[in-house]
Symmetry: C2
C-alpha cells in the first residue's frame, strides 16, 4: 500500500486531513458571491474549482462542459475510462512539483456544499449481520432473529430518492400513525422514537438494462458516500407489515457532500466475512469488493458537547455493494446513473459498535449516557448527529468529511 502522496496544497499533506492527494473526492459547491453551484474536488482544506479549470482547458473530459452544472451525473455518464483519465490528470495537476495553481482554489470554509449528484432512485439494503440480528431479536425474538432468506439474499427495499439531502440540512421530526401494542386504535402524532442509521451509500455510474454479474456491478460503482438513514421506529413498527418500511424512512436521508471514488478506495478493498451458507453463483464475488473504512457517529445536544456514541467499520457488512447491485439487477430491473444504494445499517459485534440508537439503547431499555450529562434512548429535538468515516492508510487517511443533520421539532398543523 502506497503512503501519502504529497501535493503543492500544504493542508493536503497532514496526516489528519480527510482529503490528501490520495483521495480527490468529488463534490458540488457554491460560494457566497452569488456564483452558481458547480463541480469541485477537495484537496486539504481547499476545493479545486473544476468548472474554472475546465473553462481554461486544464481538464477536458468531454467535448462539451460537464463541470458547470450542479451535479456529477453528466461526468459519470462519460464512463469508467473518463473517470480514470480525470483522476490521473488531477493527480498530475495537484502533485507536489507541479506548477501551483492557487487561483483555482476556494477555501472549504467559504463554500456551501450541495448534493453532489442527482439521486435517480434510492434503494436501501439490510446487509449488516449484527444489525439484522439485533433488530430481529428485538422485534421477533432471538429464535427468529434472522429471517430465513437473509443468508441467501442481500435483502433490500426501494426508498425515496426525493428524501435525500446533503449534510448540514436540518431534518424535521415527522408525524405519522403510531399505535402501541395496547392501544385500541392508532393516532397521528410526532414520532417519539426517531433514530439514525449509520450506512455507506454506493453510487451507480454505469447504467444497465438487464441482469449484470458481481464483477460488472463492482466496476459500475462510481464511488461512495456516508449515509444516515433517519428512521421513525414507532411509525415503522405499525406500518411495515406486510409490504415493508414506507413513511418511517421517507422524511430524510442525509449523505456526505463528497463522493469518494472507488478508485481512491481501491487500496482498502477487503473480503466480506466468511459465508455461513454458500451463495448462489450469481452473488459470488470474484475478489475483495468490500472496503475497510473506520466509521463513527457523534451526538451533540443543542448547546451541549459531543459524545461519540458508536465506532464500527464498513468491513462488518455481510454483502458488498457490488453484490447488492448484482442482485438488484437480477430480475432485469434497469439501473441508472445516479442510483444510490444504501448499504444497510453498519453495526459491529460489540455493544458500542452498533449503528443505531434502537440497538445502542436496546429499544429504549438501556439509555445511553452522554458526555455532558443526560441520556438518550432516541433523538431529541435540537440533537445534531454527525457521521464520520475514513479508510486509514500508512500516514494518511481517505476520508468522507462530516455527514451531519440537526433535528428540528415536529411541525404543528391545526387541521390534524
Amino acid at each position: 500500500m502506497t503512503g501519502l502522496l504529497r501535493s503543492w496544497v500544504d493542508s493536503a499533506n497532514t496526516p489528519d486531513t480527510d482529503f490528501p492527494l490520495n483521495n480527490l473526492p468529488y463534490g458540488v459547491f457554491s460560494t457566497g458571491d452569488g456564483t452558481m453551484s458547480r463541480c469541485g474536488v477537495a484537496i486539504g482544506d481547499m476545493i479545486f474549482d473544476l468548472c474554472r479549470a475546465e473553462g481554461d482547458g486544464l481538464v477536458e473530459p468531454a467535448a462539451t462542459p460537464v463541470f458547470d452544472v450542479s451535479h456529477w451525473n453528466d461526468f459519470m455518464e462519460l464512463g469508467p475510462e473518463a473517470w480514470a483519465d480525470l483522476r490521473t490528470r488531477l493527480t498530475e495537476l495537484l502533485s507536489e512539483g507541479s506548477e501551483p495553481l492557487p487561483g483555482y482554489l476556494v477555501p472549504q470554509a467559504e463554500a456551501t456544499m450541495h448534493l453532489p449528484f442527482r439521486v435517480t432512485e434510492y434503494t436501501d439494503f439490510y446487509a449488516g449481520r449484527h444489525h439484522a440480528t439485533n433488530v430481529g431479536t428485538m422485534f421477533r425474538g432471538a429464535e427468529n432473529a434472522l429471517p430465513p432468506n437473509w443468508l441467501h439474499i442481500p435483502i433490500g427495499y426501494n426508498g425515496r430518492a426525493s428524501s435525500v439531502v446533503v449534510s448540514g440540512t436540518p431534518v424535521r421530526r415527522p408525524c405519522g400513525q403510531l399505535k402501541g401494542p395496547d392501544d385500541a386504535a392508532p393516532r397521528f402524532a410526532p414520532s417519539a422514537r426517531f433514530d439514525f442509521e449509520l450506512e455507506m451509500g454506493a453510487i451507480v455510474g454505469v447504467p444497465s438494462d438487464g441482469p449484470i454479474g458481481v464483477a460488472e456491478a463492482d466496476a459500475a460503482i462510481f464511488g461512495y458516500v456516508l449515509l444516515n438513514d433517519w428512521s421513525a421506529r414507532d411509525i415503522q413498527a405499525w406500518e411495515y407489515q406486510p409490504l415493508g418500511p414506507f413513511q418511517a424512512k421517507a422524511t430524510a436521508t442525509t449523505i456526505s457532500p463528497w463522493i469518494v471514488t472507488a478508485a481512491a478506495l481501491a487500496p482498502f478493498r477487503c473480503d466480506t466475512p466468511p459465508r455461513e451458507v454458500p451463495l448462489l453463483p450469481y452473488l459470488q464475488e470474484p475478489g475483495p469488493m468490500l472496503y475497510d473504512i473506520a466509521l463513527e457517529v457523534a451526538l451533540r445536544p443543542e448547546g451541549g458537547e459531543e459524545t461519540v456514541i458508536t465506532r464500527t467499520n464498513y468491513r462488518e457488512m455481510y454483502y458488498s455493494s457490488a453484490q447488492q447491485l448484482a442482485h438488484h439487477s437480477s430480475s432485469g430491473c434497469p439501473m441508472r446513473v445516479g442510483d444510490l444504494l444504501g448499504s444497510g445499517t453498519i453495526s459491529g459485534p460489540e455493544k458500542d459498535s452498533r449503528g443505531s440508537l434502537l440497538e445502542l439503547s436496546w429499544g429504549g431499555k438501556e439509555p445511553l449516557e452522554l458526555a455532558g450529562g443526560g441520556t438518550r434512548s432516541f433523538l431529541q429535538d435540537g440533537d445534531t448527529l454527525t457521521l464520520r468515516g475514513a479508510a486509514l492508510g500508512d500516514g494518511y487517511r481517505v476520508g468522507f468529511g462530516a455527514c451531519d443533520g440537526t433535528l428540528l421539532p415536529a411541525e404543528k398543523r391545526p387541521d390534524w
Copy 2:
C-alpha cells in the same frame, strides 16, 4: 352529467371511441418519418399534434415551448391553471363548428406511442379490500387475511421508476431466487409464477415539500393511466419478509400511453366505500375522490384468441389516490412532478372480477379456462395481456386505450 361533446373530427363522435372531445388525453408520439417524439392529444382515431400547434401559435401555454419534448413533465410544471387553460383551448379548437385543422392531425394507426411522462419516482399501493383479503387468505389464512393496519393506513411501498414502460413494450420473464416450502435451499431460475396486476396509476403534477391534506392532494393529481404491475409471485414469496417486495416487482410496470386528466374524469367522481373503522382526520376525504371506471383484462396466447379474464371497476378501491398521496406526504416526504402512484390491484367481490391470476386461479389451484382451449394458472411465454378501461357516460366513453404487453421467455445466461 353532460352527453357527448361533438368534434369536427368525425371519428371522435362515435359512442365506442375511447377518445371523444370529452376526453382529450395526453400522450407522446412519433411517426415513421424520422420525426422526434413530441406531445399530442388523442381525438377519435387521430392525434392532434400539439408540438406543431404550439409552433404555429394555436396553443401557447408558456413563453417557451413545452410540447416539443418527449414528456408532459414541463407542461405539468406549469400548474393547474395552465392545465385548465389548455383543456379549454383544445375543446374550443376541436369542437364541431370550429374551423377544421386537418393539417394538425396524425392518424393513430401511423404513430408510435412513447412513455407519456418521465416517471420521477414510482410508488405502489395495496388499497383494494378484496385483493388484500384474497391474497392475505392465501398467504396467511382467512383468520389473518387483512393486516391489522390495513383499515387505518393506505399501505404502500416504493417501487422502481426505471421499470415503467409504455404499452406495447415486450416484457422478459425474470429469473430470481426461488424456494419452495420443502426445498432445502433456494435456486436461481426463471419465475414459474409470473402474473399481472390490474391497477390504475395516478400522476402527481404539483410538487410538495411537506405534508399536504387530502383536498390538496386531490388537486395535485394531473391525471390517470392504466397500470399493469407485473409480479413474480414465487420470487416475492421468498424475498418479501421482512422489508417487502423488491425484485418480484422490478422487471416491468406497463402503463397505457394516454394520460386521462383528472378534469376529463371529473363527471365520474364517486365516493370510496363506507369506512369499516373511522379514518384519522388527515385521511378523511372532503368529497368524492374516487372514480367510476369500468375495467377489464384480456389474455391472448401466442397465435391464439383473446379471453376476457376479469371485469371490475376502479370504484372498488378502499382508498382514493388523493388519500394515498396525502398519506405519502405525511412524514414530510417530498413529492415531485412525475411521481406515479399505483392504486393497488383492483379486484371486485366476485370471482370473475379479480385483478390478478394469483386470485383468479386461487394460487394455481383453480386454473382458468381460456376461450380457445387450454388453461392458465400463471402467464406462459408468448401470452399477451391487455388492460382496458373507460368511464362510461351517456352515449360516450372516456377511455384509456389499451395497455398491453407480451411475455418473452427468460434470458438464458451460461454463467448462472
